[in-house]
Assembly symmetry: C2
Homo-oligomer: 423 residues x 2
């Protein structure tokens, strides 16, 4: 184990290399970056066996050290999964290059032309868990958007990540771009993550990917600006005038279609006026789909089989086939509950009343607010952005599903012919 | 003096009031917000004498405690300056309301309509120096953009600010908006500033206004996201092919027209090929305008009267009639100097060579890059934004001159009619 100051020094060298390489990447053409992405996909295919072998070693260590079955599954790469990684890289290659896009511009009265143009941030850091697919995903997204990237993956995937990082660097070098644009601090363990979170001088933005706990820890410890993603205590409010069959279908879809993701519903708020007609139907459908219901007292009077919801349930992102249900007295009570417990990700109202719908959409302060739609639509792919950089739950810079442009900053380009300011 | 925990408690109460009031302001109509701004302007005029009287007390204390003449001038309000404050408020009222503006939107293949809409952040904090005009300016900008505001002004302006904050609250109440939307923590001194910088739970964004030192301190200490503004070690590079008279006019304008502001030039980089023709003319003009020149050795061989520039000079924002001058070997050397010393605010190249101009514009990583124009044009007013929220030198959220839209976030509004995700 290196001493703290040696880790700091070794990290600073990597960070500087990333920064310097980032300047080169920032002026790379789309053609060059796309060639690097093609090379990445080809190397993933060519080295599939090496990757699977390194991953098997990680998986063995994980199994011996008691990694849960779910985490082992996320960690595992087989030939088919490596092929999907290659396909994901090619999908990112196919997206429009955000760098150089003109956001707005004008000609000033004195003839000066100003244009606000998208430019890369420079260096993007990412801290994530033992999911090797994130290594490739973030590296490809960063490369397409002209950014260097510094990676810190979960230690359980260390051998897999080492092979993948070497592969990405080879892809860069193969097309004449600097290997330094992709760095990993995995070898330094937690100390590397700490250095990355404090590297304001080198790192422009940090993207944590993974559990709510990981993201909270990064937000709390990082002095580098963070793009906060993902945590979703998501609500659906079934309003008094809701079309009951529609409400049932939407809640079932939002809970069951993919319960592990952040846009799955966690709490259903049911207007008291519709509880008697809605809850029994919902209860039957969810129970048949093996969903565990945890209700307030009134909910349980309609669904005697439901468990008891506590205050903790209202604040929990289950990520599983569990749903909390609370009967509320009306729109204001529903919005108060949401204000208190929501993580500001997505909330949907099911209603036929336009005035209440409009109030909900205007007053609920979340990244995405919906009427009569499943919360599962909060997704970069569904929104037509192509790539999945994550879903921002913060208000600065990006909010809601993020596409490639959210990995860029802008700069103003000003062209004159000798103008000076009078006065 | 209150104990730390009592200050924390008193601040938390104010912050909560700001947050709750912010929810009300977020749904206020443009008409209501404009009426509040009209009331602010009217109250400034009606209470001009009270304001000037409170300010005179602050000025007396400042004079006794040895406040510098410059700071005393910035602190002082007379009837004419109060009238300009009222006019500034009316100018902000006249700007378009950013809230509710549609950024982009589309109809998804399944018929769901998505619209990204501007919404207020919620609560904007501001930490600034003893310039009472900032109190009114920030309060008016926050109000127009639907945000609550928590103010921490310099202690030297405490009595003036107390009168101004009371006035803004009266203006809000007069039109039926909550007084809680405007809070001040001036009464708690430094402890109040500390609380404000740590109030992640309540405050969405913090805008420091003032000296580079103040801004650095806020960036270092704040856990609330900061919109970093202003510090400008601004460069002009006079390239080998520059039109010499144009270069002289631009440098003189950028240094002399208003030396105290952040977009004034601080360092002039002169290509060695043009030094012999350019420097003597520049030296004569600047000396005639009482500008103190600090040069590198080569510069001083052309301008024997110039002082010696040290490494510190290259990194200094003089904000005064002082300029550092360095002769460089060419474009790459100029860009290396800029990369090392620039604060990323504004840099301008003076040239007739299109290839070098394009390289400079593409490769220099600053908020604003210019060719053949005075750096003094980096300004919200000049760019046509109306209001002057500040000039961001960070890359996240906003970069360069910020207008009212930069005081907003966005949210996605999604309208369906029962859509669920298949699969």
């Amino acid at each position: 184990m290196l001493s703290t100051s040696l880790v700091a020094q070794a990290c600073a060298e990597k960070f500087l290399a990333a920064k310097v390489s980032g300047r080169r990447l920032a002026i790379a053409t789309t053609e060059q970056k796309d060639a690097a992405l093609t090379a990445m996909a080809e190397l993933l295919r060519a080295r599939s066996e090496d990757i699977v072998r390194a991953n098997a070693r990680d998986c063995d260590v994980g199994a011996q050290s008691g990694l849960s079955a779910g985490l082992q599954d996320r960690l595992r790469l087989d030939a088919a999964r490596v092929e999907s990684l290659a396909e994901a890289v090619l999908a990112i290659r196919a997206l429009p290059d955000p760098v150089g896009q003109v956001v707005r511009g004008s000609t000033l009265p004195n003839g000066i032309r100003i244009v606000q143009t998208r430019v890369p941030f420079g260096v993007v850091g990412s801290i994530y868990e033992a999911r090797p697919n994130v290594t490739i995903d973030i590296a490809a997204l960063a490369l397409k958007s002209g950014n260097s990237v510094i990676l810190r993956g979960g230690s359980a995937a260390e051998q897999t990540n080492a092979v993948l990082v070497a592969l990405v660097r080879d892809a860069l070098v193969g097309v004449g771009l600097p290997a330094g644009a992709v760095q990993s601090v995995d070898e330094f363990g937690r100390a590397g993550a700490q250095e990355l979170m404090r590297a304001r001088e080198y790192v422009d933005v940090l993207v944590p990917r993974g559990s709510a706990r990981l993201i909270r820890a990064v937000v709390a410890d990082s002095t580098v600006p963070v793009l906060e993603t993902g945590a979703g205590v998501v609500h659906i409010y079934v309003e008094a005038t809701a079309d009951v069959p529609m409400a049932v279908e939407i809640v079932v879809n939002a809970k069951v279609q993919r319960p592990s993701v952040c846009n799955a519903v966690e709490t259903v708020l049911v207007d008291a006026a519709v509880a008697a007609t809605f809850l029994p139907v919902l209860g039957e459908r969810l129970t048949a789909l093996s969903v565990d219901i945890r209700g307030c007292d009134i909910t349980r009077s309609f669904l005697p089989g439901a468990g008891i919801a506590t205050d903790d349930d209202w604040a929990t992102e289950y990520g599983d086939l569990i749903v909390a249900v609370r009967v509320v007295a009306g729109l204001d009570a529903a919005m108060q509950h949401i204000e208190r417990y929501s993580t500001g990700h997505t909330e949907s109202i099911i209603t036929r009343d336009i005035a209440r719908s409009e109030r909900f959409l205007a007053e609920v302060d979340s990244a995405v607010v919906m009427v009569n739609a499943s919360t599962r639509f909060t997704d970069g792919g569904e929104f037509g952005f192509g790539a999945e950089v994550g879903i921002s739950t913060q208000k600065l810079h990006a909010r809601g599903p993020m596409g490639l442009p959210e990995l860029t900053s802008t700069k103003w380009i000003v062209r004159g012919n000798g103008q000076v300011r009078p006065g």
